[in-house]
Amino acid sequence: MKDLQSIADSLGLTPLCGDLGKEVTGCYAGDLLSWVMSHAQYGDVWVTIMSNINVVAVASLTECACVIMAEGVMPDSEVLKVAKEKDITLFSDPRSTYELCCLVGKQLSENE
């Protein structure tokens, strides 16, 4: 387990919205929202290239620790607004899903 703040710091991530006081227990990558719904776990960092409003609903329902939008994907202002309301922590980063998952995985394993 690691706190989101230290993961964000080590990856050089600045949140678009949401707080960093959450605990991270795992990492999940996926773009098919139904699949993510049924497989992402509480406390996961969810890495995706999707940025539509339904991402916020899935993040809220799965209670993942945060969403990282990979490959430089940016949410629009409406998505950001709803994410803020629902206290979802969002990041956007130019790195690929693979790179981001590797880095998060490294952080999580260092802690063990």
């Binding site: 098919l32 539509n52 409003i53 339904n54 609903a57 899935v58």
Partner: protein, 141 residues
């Protein structure tokens, strides 16, 4: 102890894809306040969300009712959509009739109905082509 049945009803707006999931989030909030375990809440939320999304994608919305008792949480999803011509086929993982624009949003993976079955203890589908579909899902507490 719940005295009787606590019932929540939601109109699922078929026009508004962006608000899909609103009912599931509300149900989740209510169940948490009522003190249900996280695992029960998670199962209900997933099943309900998939059902809600299906109503928006395929049926132009509908009505979702959730009945909570001491023993179970029952979700009743009613729509006046096109109905499901072949339920066995629709239940197969990966089968989907969703259009490309829906797929580009991250849906249409053919996981909706299978997930609803997987996360509920029982699921009943009543459907008639051209009339609509009612799905009743029960999660035992």
């Amino acid at each position: 102890m719940l005295e009787d049945v606590v019932r929540f009803t939601f109109n699922v707006d078929g026009e508004d894809f962006s608000s899909a999931g609103a009912a599931s989030v509300q149900v989740k909030k209510h169940l948490r306040q009522m003190g249900f375990s996280p695992e029960i809440i998670r199962r209900v939320a997933i099943a309900m969300y998939e059902g809600e999304i299906n109503m928006v994608i395929h049926a132009d919305g509908g009505v979702a009712t959730v009945e909570v008792t001491d023993d179970s949480i029952v979700m009743i999803l009613e729509d006046k959509g096109p109905g499901i011509p072949d339920v066995a086929l629709a239940m197969q993982e990966g089968f989907s009739t969703a259009k490309e624009n829906i797929r580009s949003l991250g849906f249409g993976a053919g996981m909706g109905l299978p997930n609803m079955k997987k996360y509920s203890d029982s699921m009943k589908i009543e459907t008639e082509v051209g009339k609509g579909t009612t799905i009743i899902m029960t999660v035992n507490v």
